[in-house]
């Protein structure tokens, strides 16, 4: 079917036809240069002309031609037969064969080849040259390689003003992404230009973060939802909790209201195990642990005040720095406090007083990391002050195993998810320590200096192979550890169980002994109290104890000072100097001379006491 549009136009409407003709060139305008016009212009001197001398580059794209490959087979048919022999005909082929066999050359060749061949056949029959010897013996699997760790990638904070990477979280599926929360933990250290952003990095690309999260205030902690890998929850410096959906963009989907949030920075937020997968709880140094449902962020669903007296008094409360929750024990959780206590709590208790089950004391400083051993949930690791300690749930008075006191403060630690006896710690001098207490108890198995600045956070990936640590300048380093440290060794579980049990037993015995001794003391002091009531209390009251310790303290200080002064005396440089007074005119009386000498000696002495020199000035009077 043709689509045709017909329209008509009259010939006289076209206009006159064009008649072309040739004619020679004509000069229409000739403008000659007029120098007088130059007076309207000023010569520019100097002339500023930019010139670029660079390599000329060009961009080319090449797409190779597709290489097409084909699969072919060969069909074997008989061939090679001489022209006169037809391979299909049996007679002809047989005749040919017989002819060949009669050949003399054939005879000798076959004899010779035959003997060669027989030799090899017999060889084959005699022994199997490819037999594997000692196959039944177990291959000794102990890897002789040294434990090592290698830096794979370094992710730097792209902002000008560097913030500390305070928390890291691995993506739950496949661990190909790392969420890093940046904040500044120094007191009032936040400058107005500091960017509030936190980033999600793709571990293959350290140049640019994959996604930016823009909170209202600096994020102190950040966690991926283990059930839904698009949701992250973060706790910020101003006490609010916010959650993001990576599909929805950089702004938080919802934030908790300020009135109901924490009063201090939220140091840790953890996802809970629930049917809906939307429950989290958060801890902060204001002494509260709050439970949230992210669908309704206006108010926390539950609140717990960490008051050791179990009265719910916020003034008495301990500030919480770390939280621990194990999905296999959903009703229990633990809180690590600023005061060095670990509080174990039961979520399902009826009254708030019963929520706090027990406390574990033993650390001198805030507990920065708290984690149960993934293989032995009864034992947990705490990292605080200058040590890392391993505790057993049953022993509340002290830890069952601990590291020595280090030179630098320990800032974070975690267990290896694949090996029950391996844990990692990071220190403020920028070193990462890998501990394997089945191999060596006194020192870390591997100590690696990751960077020059302090390391603040550490997170191991679920396969135990990669770990990321965050530093003070916002650099997150991704390290791979050697396979020896992330493969389960033979008998490791059994050995670790044995070690834990042994240490727990030892502590139990010690605890029992202490209790006995205390009981004895108490009974003895009670006895003495009965005997001489006039003496007063056998036990000292708090004030007396305070004054006594104060007096002792000052005594010690005095003794130290004296010792130091004595040492200094010995070390002080000695200056001998003398003043010789030559008196020519004997008219000066002896008294005058004596007074002059005394004055000069006094001044010298004053000078000597001011400076810490021992100056032995001497003065001589020479009469001529």
């Amino acid at each position: 079917m043709e689509i045709v549009h017909v329209y008509t136009k009259k010939r006289n409407e076209f206009g006159r036809q064009c008649n072309f003709s040739d004619r020679p060139a004509e000069l229409h305008v000739d403008i000659l240069p007029d120098p007088s016009l130059a007076s309207n212009f000023i010569e520019r001197d100097p002339c500023d002309i930019p010139i670029q001398c660079t390599q000329e580059m060009s961009e080319h794209e090449v797409n190779t031609e597709r290489f097409e490959s084909d699969t072919r087979g060969i069909n074997h048919v008989e061939g090679g037969w001489p022209k006169d022999v037809n391979p299909q005909e049996m007679e002809q082929t047989i005749r040919f064969r017989k002819k060949v066999e009669k050949d003399e050359h054939y005879f000798s060749t076959i004899m010779q080849l035959g003997s060669n061949m027989e030799h090899c056949i017999k060889q084959n029959n005699a022994i199997n040259i490819y037999q594997e010897y000692f196959e039944e013996e177990e291959v000794v699997e102990e890897s002789e390689e040294q434990p090592s760790a290698k830096t794979i990638n370094v992710f730097r904070d792209p902002n000008e003003i560097k913030r500390t990477a305070t928390c890291l979280s691995w993506h739950p599926d496949g661990s190909c992404k790392l969420a890093v929360a940046y904040s500044s933990l120094g007191f009032q250290n936040i400058s107005p230009d500091m960017s509030y952003d936190s980033y999600i990095w793709d571990i293959e690309n350290p140049n640019k973060p994959e996604m930016t999260l823009k909170p209202v205030s600096l994020l102190v902690c950040l966690e991926y939802n283990p059930k839904d890998s698009h949701i992250l929850v973060g706790g910020s410096y101003n006490g609010q909790i916010a959650y993001w959906d990576t599909r929805k963009g950089s702004q938080p989907v919802e934030m908790s209201t300020i009135e109901h949030s924490h009063r201090d920075p939220v140091y840790k937020v953890i996802w809970l195990q629930s049917k809906t997968g939307t429950d989290t709880f958060s801890a902060s140094t204001d002494g509260q642990v709050l439970w949230w449902d992210i669908r309704k962020m206006s108010e926390p669903t539950e609140r717990l005040v960490l008051d050791p007296n179990k009265k719910g008094n916020l003034d008495n409360a301990l500030g919480a720095i770390s939280l621990e929750f194990e999905t296999t024990m959903p009703t229990k959780f633990m809180v690590g406090t600023e005061q060095g206590l670990v509080v174990s709590c039961n979520r399902k208790a009826k009254t708030p007083a019963e929520k706090i089950v027990c406390t574990y004391s033993g650390h001198h400083g805030p507990i920065y990391a708290l984690q149960r051993n993934p293989f032995f949930p009864k034992n947990f690791l705490t990292v605080a002050d200058w040590t890392a300690r391993i505790w057993s749930e049953d022993i509340k008075e002290s830890s069952i195993m601990w590291t020595k006191y280090h030179m630098a403060y320990l800032s974070d630690g975690c267990w290896s998810p694949v090996r029950p006896s391996v844990f990692f710690t990071v220190k403020m001098d920028g070193t990462l320590d890998v501990w394997d207490f089945l191999f060596k108890q006194n020192d870390p198995t591997l100590s690696l200096k990751v960077c020059d600045e302090a390391l603040y956070s550490l997170r191991v990936q679920d396969n135990g192979r990669f770990l990321a640590c965050g530093s003070q300048l916002g650099t997150a380093t991704l390290l791979e550890i050697s396979p020896g440290l992330c493969t389960l060794q033979r008998n490791e579980k059994a050995l670790a169980t044995a070690m834990f049990e042994r240490e727990t037993k030892r502590e139990k015995i010690l605890e029992a002994r202490h209790r006995e001794m205390r009981l004895k003391e108490r009974s003895r002091s009670e006895q003495s109290k009965d005997e001489d009531t006039k003496e007063g209390d056998g036990e000292e009251s708090v004030e007396e104890l305070a004054t006594r310790t104060e007096a002792e303290f000052y005594e010690i200080v005095e003794a130290e000072l004296k010792k130091r002064a004595k040492e200094q005396e010995k070390k002080r440089p000695v200056l001998w100097s003398g003043i010789d007074l030559e008196v020519e005119d004997p008219s000066w009386s002896g008294v005058v001379c004596q007074s002059i000498i005394e004055l000069s000696l006094l001044s010298l002495h004053a000078i000597s006491t001011l400076s810490s020199l021992i100056w032995y000035p001497s003065c001589r009077l020479i009469l001529t």
């Binding site: 074997h76 004899m111 080849l113 035959g114 056949i121 084959n124 029959n125």
Partner: protein
């Protein structure tokens, strides 16, 4: 003549030997104990392979020449004894 027969028979009766083929320079199987299609396949393939092997050895060192060719596969071993004019191929199941 009878000795040739005897030799070939002796080879065939060794332990583990599955088949024997005698091939001439043109690739025609002169003597075989296997069926036709198998023989043709073996002959065609091994002839080419032996030529290739020989040329490889002589390429590296012209004074050298291929003495024997053994191909050990998972199931059996193919042994080829080459000569200027003929090829003796034996397929054997080596002792396990």
């Amino acid at each position: 003549m009878a000795e040739v027969e005897e030799t070939l028979k002796r080879i065939q009766t060794h332990k583990g030997v599955i088949g024997t083929i005698v091939v001439n320079a043109e690739g025609i199987p002169i003597r075989t104990t296997l069926d036709n299609s198998t023989t043709v396949q073996y002959t065609g393939l091994l002839h080419q392979l032996t030529m290739k092997a020989r040329s490889t050895v002589r390429d590296i060192d012209p004074q050298n020449d291929l003495a024997f060719l053994r191909i050990r596969s998972k199931k059996h071993e193919i042994m080829v004894a080459p000569d200027k004019e003929y090829l003796l191929i034996v397929i054997q199941n080596p002792s396990e």
